[in-house]
Symmetry: C2
């Protein structure tokens, strides 16, 4: 009676494009720009190249009513994509280079392909790609589409050209039906917030209305994140069993030392002792109950926190950005030590800024700026873990009224895997470990801001008290002079000193 | 330099379980109960069976700290699953029976499998399934796991038993690590709201704390949704090209009439005329530009609205539910006519209720109850399209203060495809067509409520005015009597009538 069928991953995401940020022509337009810019930034930073990116958006006259056919072209100076990987990298969903233990902007291996797919289903045009890797003598030119039912690339044209200028990078160009008019504001906001975090980026943005240039202000690149081993804390059973199955030839001790961070010889021996086994025990002989026991030891063992080699926090760059934009009278900033959830290391950095150009929030809003792996998150802040933390904190403790004072919160999370709630990377899930780190970081800043505001309030109180008492000072002075019949010389300054308490 | 690799759909969702509602042990617990209950309800309603469902949750003592190993068992009296489909239906992601054009609770073919997968990776235990289809003489018993890397089922045990009692349905049982203590409130809220919409459901819920029974109050099932053809309005190019490729042998006219709702002979001929082709033109000869032209005609043609045969709105059931719970002094309810987005028909039903047990919202909250395909949506209301509509409406026009008065909003959307923003079905995307229908429906109710409140205010004004004037009535009466020197008999009642304006 029921019809059972299998669908391809392309088909799945084609049918459910809302979950990837393509729920309407306005949002689709924003998502496409964002995904392409992020791929370009990743392609530069992965190899320590200062990003030089050009985005051209061309709204054509065609379309249906408010939605127009838009041509987008993005060019970067990244590492490029090897010829043989191009078809799959752009034409096969769930295929990519970003499934590794290293901080990336992209993590789903999905964004660029969804953008191309969306263009294809709304305008029926293929995508054009030109790429060359570092040192390559050839430029590769592809015209292709995605066969959605099969989840396979369909190459319509391929040509090679001589790479005379030694260029490397990627140029991607396609058309889609979108509402650029309505999405423009969000796109500019996105680029603007990106430029705050990435002063080392050069970005030229052109559309039918004009040109916008985000000039490089610094040539200091953040450190390149390295690939790392898994941290044993929080790793799940499935992953543990997989590691065991691909390391069957190892001894138990070698297996532990080789496959995990923070397990050296001593700790490995300690763990093996708890398992009641010996170091030379062959991994292939581990029984199911041994594996579960090992898993539970991992859960409870007091390991060092995960290495942050795979991460690339922004650090002081955030303060520079905030100061440039908001010119606040006070900033509290701190970077937490690395922590982890489910074996993924992460670092939380937060700042609270006060005064300057920061507006007093209207209508019970909260000034919250969210960043994840250097991506500004613009949409859907209400359900974000950071928003939840801020709403849960009792700000009365700090004598801070976040709804009535010019306060802005900044949260940057970097991780080998950001737990986004949506494939469109709108907001971050309420993962307990993350929640805790954000809370601790914000509370630390809150204490500093509280101390600052207390001092400020005390100073203002004293100023008021002083001006109040000053009125009487003259009279007291005159009276004192009269009383002493001018025999004793009273210095006005001394009296003032007493009153002002300073 | 970069490592390119392909991952299986199981692997993808395993790595990104947050997007499917499994972001922490509390939420995972809620999501698992919800997915299983919804599968059971679908399995009953699809065939017009009155649902009889039993959910047993058993918190064991084991676990890590606050998270415990939980055993869940759900039993239904649905249509069961044919033996040959069981392994894939529970052990292969992106395989299922719900990819059809008919209203389902499930649409991703993902929920049940994610629940099993989550159990597997947190407790390493297999899932147990017993099922029998209607009229089958055998009960099928499976013990199985999912091979995540391959996205294939791994059957550990299979047995057949005689189906002596002619039972049909499904029993599913597995363990997972979750936080039941923290999720219990949301689970009960979910079941409670479900029972509002489904008075024809019998549900027994048991946990370590006791038993909760939602008794069947009516045996009137909503109509069974039927499978339908696509509506031409809003269909995308990809889908059109697919239909053409599987109908190559047809003539153009036959193709149009057979494959789309709302295209009869006359409309087909009209469309073909606009294409400058003739009715017998073979579909296989359609060129790319013809297809794009056809697509644009579809976009702009004035078709009848899509058939609602595939939909199953709740109608008056919603009013009954609201009255039972909130006992409001006023309800405005309306069901919109069917509409569609991207070829998917949908119906919006909304209600606004006032007074009774409805609380005045606190802290700028809004009393909004959201339902989609008869599922209550409990989490993440802030970004939902319904919330956006309510926030965008200028309520001053209706003289209604939604933040300060005891008002509750109810929105039910049913569709062959609900555009959820998350795979965890937390909230619905801002699709323009949907937004518009919700707005029109709510505005209609708002006008009714506004009229009611105006009348109420007028009545209260008059009551006040009357009681104010009444004070003087006695004096006027006495004075009038005196004036007439009691020669004319003045009836007090007449005077009262004049004052009260009634």
């Amino acid at each position: 009676m029921l019809k059972f069928e299998e669908i391809s991953p392309s088909e799945f995401f084609y049918r459910n494009k809302e979950i990837a940020g393509f729920e309407n022509p306005t949002k689709a337009c924003y998502t496409i720009v964002r995904e392409l810019v992020e791929n370009s930034l990743d392609a530069c930073e992965i190899c320590g190249i200062l990003p030089d990116i050009k985005v051209v958006i061309n709204e054509t006259g065609e379309g249906d009513g408010i939605n127009k056919i838009i041509k987008i072209k993005v060019k970067d100076n990244g590492i490029g994509i090897p010829k043989e990987n191009v078809p799959y990298a752009f034409g096969k969903v769930l295929y990519g280079s970003k499934f590794t233990l290293r901080q990336h902007r992209g993590i789903f291996g999905l964004g660029g392909k969804m953008a191309i797919l969306y263009g294809q289903i709304t305008t029926n045009n293929p995508v054009k790609i030109i790429t060359s890797t570092i040192g390559s003598k050839l430029l590769h030119f592809f015209v292709m589409q995605i066969d959605i039912l099969k989840n396979e690339p369909n190459i319509l044209r391929y040509e090679e050209f001589e790479n005379k200028e030694g260029w490397h990078g990627l140029i991607i160009e396609f058309t889609f039906l979108g509402n650029y008019y309505n999405s423009r504001k969000k796109i500019l906001e996105y680029l603007f917030q990106t430029s705050i975090l990435l002063p080392y980026m050069n970005l030229v943005f052109m559309d039918n209305y004009g040109m916008l240039v985000f000039k490089r202000k610094s040539s200091l690149l953040p450190k390149i994140p390295e690939e790392t081993l898994l941290h044993p804390k929080g790793i799940d059973l499935e992953m543990l069993k997989r590691l065991i199955s691909i390391n069957k030839k190892e001894t138990l001790k070698c297996f532990l030392v080789k496959n995990f961070q923070r397990i050296g010889n001593k700790i490995a021996e300690d763990i093996i002792k708890q398992l009641n086994l010996n170091p030379d025990f062959p991994v292939r002989k581990l029984k199911d109950e041994d594996i579960i026991k090992l898993y539970n030891i991992f859960k409870n063992y007091n390991f060092k926190k995960p290495s942050s080699k795979s991460l690339s926090p922004v650090g002081e760059n955030l303060i520079i950005g905030i100061k440039e934009i908001f010119k606040p009278e006070f900033i509290a900033f701190n970077t937490r030590k690395p922590s982890s959830y489910e074996g993924h290391p992460f670092i939380v950095e937060t700042a609270i800024a006060y005064g300057g150009n920061i507006p007093i929030p209207s209508d019970n809003e909260i000034n919250l700026f969210r960043f994840a792996n250097k991506i500004p998150l613009i949409y859907d802040s209400y359900n974000d873990v950071s928003m939840k933390v801020i709403k849960d904190i009792n700000w009365n403790l700090y004598k801070i009224d976040i709804y009535k004072e010019p306060i802005a919160f900044f949260v940057h999370i970097c991780s080998t895997k950001i737990p986004y709630k949506t494939l469109g990377k709108e907001y971050i899930a309420n993962v307990p470990e993350l929640y805790k780190e954000i809370e601790l970081s914000l509370r630390k800043n809150a204490r500093k801001l509280s101390a600052y505001l207390n001092k400020k309030r005390l100073y203002e109180y004293q100023k008021k008290r002083y001006s109040y008492l000053k009125e009487y000072l003259e009279k007291i002075f005159d009276f004192a002079c009269k009383l002493s019949e001018a025999k004793i010389k009273i210095k006005k300054e001394i009296l003032e000193g007493i009153v002002s308490n300073e």
